[in-house]
């Protein structure tokens, strides 16, 4: 009962088959009530990524627009990632991909498009990565609540909160308690 596949308008990340070769694709769109240029400028400065990507401990900018990311991994470990910029279009898109000095193979890009009727900007991040240790690695990551898809969703939402409200929401009422969940 084979039939031709429909080429519908949904992005790859929303399709049931979200694999592209060896890469798994995760991503998400958010509507942010701020102008494109402002959002682009904030994201373009990779040292600010840890303010909304909680898995990223720090980003250091090196030579030739290369950045070194230190990422928290399950069981207190760290993964280092070196990225180079690709396809940067002022106020529209930022892309990055891992270099040969990285422990994981990944590529990502974020686009900024005007939302209709002055609603602000639709920010779409799409990250493709080679799952650490294939599907088993992904399963382990899931156990540690670090499933990349969930992380991507949380990160984009934090970015939204920071850009719109100027701060990331927390339910904590003292500085020594954790305010998420």
């Amino acid at each position: 009962m084979a039939h031709d596949q429909t080429h519908d308008d949904a992005p790859k990340r929303a399709q049931r088959d979200d694999k592209d070769g060896d890469y798994a694709i995760v991503g998400r769109s958010v509507l942010i009530n701020r102008p494109r240029s402002e959002l682009f400028a904030y994201w373009r400065d990779f040292t600010k990524l840890p303010t909304f990507m909680h898995a990223v401990e720090s980003v250091a900018i090196g030579d030739g627009e290369r950045s070194t990311w230190t990422i928290k991994a399950p069981a207190g470990q760290h993964v280092t990632l070196e990225t180079e910029l690709v396809d940067v279009i002022e106020n529209e898109a930022i892309g990055w991909r891992s270099t040969e000095h990285s422990q994981i193979k990944t590529t990502g890009h974020v686009t900024f498009t005007d939302a209709p009727a002055g609603r602000g900007t639709i920010v779409t991040a799409e990250i493709a990565y080679e799952p650490p240790g294939g599907d088993v690695g992904r399963l382990i990551a899931k156990l540690f609540q670090a499933e990349p898809n969930i992380q991507a969703r949380h990160e984009l939402k934090r970015f939204k909160q920071l850009m719109e409200a100027g701060e990331v929401a927390t339910g904590a009422y003292t500085n020594s308690t954790d305010g998420e969940v």
Binding site: N33, K160, A165, E167, V168, A169, G171, T174, N175, V181
Partner: protein
Amino acid sequence: MRALTWHGTNDVRVDTHPDPEIINPRDAILKVTSTAICGSDLHLYDGVIPGMKSGDILGHEFMGEVVEVGPKSTLQKGQRVVVPFTISCGKCFFCEQQQYSACDNGNPVVNQDASEMLYGQPMGAAFGYSHLTGGYAGGQAEYVRVPFSDVGPIVIPDGMADDDVLFLSDILPTGWMAAENAQIQPGDTVAVWGAGPVGLFAVQSAVLMGAAQVIAIDHFPRRLELAQKFGAKIINFEETHVREALMEMTGGIGPDAVIDAVGMEAHGWVADNVLDVIKQKMAPGADRGHALRQALLAVRKGGRVSVPGVYGGMLDKWPLGAMMEKGIQIKGGQTHVQKYTADLLRRIQDGEIDTTFLISHRLSLEEAPEGYKNFHDKQNEWTKVVLKPGGVA
């Protein structure tokens, strides 16, 4: 500080907790002077709202004095403010539409996961109302941290007593929005299920909005008497067939608009409700929809259904056919409190709205557990409880 704390079903206690601190730039800290127990708190007390943790501080209806402000707060120390129960940023798409309770920026992102899965989109945030809405510590406490203090709290003019304005935090705007959602036209009959605090403010609002006839439905005589104060007719559902009465009181067409101010824990010894009670006891996430079902069947063809009563999960035996075949409109939602506070404050100042008639008990914070028990068990006499953390004058 001392704070009313949830420990499990029908188990709330006043415990000692650390004082709240400024965490985000837009925060303020209040010293709470008055805080009320809400019918919504009874859903927590009964354990029918998921996402509660032992140790959570309750309370979403409160006011107090500003004692500390973050660098981006616009409040000043010493100001008296009432705080909306909805925690809303004032900057996002939803806030700009004045759909404050839908704000995406109050609920911490991790907390959004559960409701996003349940409802398709995440819930907004509220004080003291489970981790589904952010896990924020509530205001039934000596002190409380208030996020987005530059846009939420409303400053109260000197000379107005706490009890006159406290209910701007929730039940007055909730009753008002319930009536607004009923889209009242001249000549309308509006029937209100539940003569609790929300229903009573819905009755008062519907009268102010020009309804020709308002009918309150409950089974507690004292609560129904309070509704009569505003000219409402009353139906006691233990003595009367509600639907038949409503038909007979509207010349056989049914009420033009109906308001469900009962919510997920409807009372009533009738078949559908008994089944719902059993289901709710077996698993969280089941609602009891007896009042809403009755309202849907009672409303006239082409009529309007307004649902301020809180539901959280799934319901079966939903009269879907009645909804479609009668051409009914339904509107519900957590209240967009910030949209209404300024206008309602003016109406209180002008003497247009009575806000204190329903307060039956004023207790100290230490007496809060008794307040919960009695507001839950003796609803006829205990119509609204206000707690005074500084002591009852």
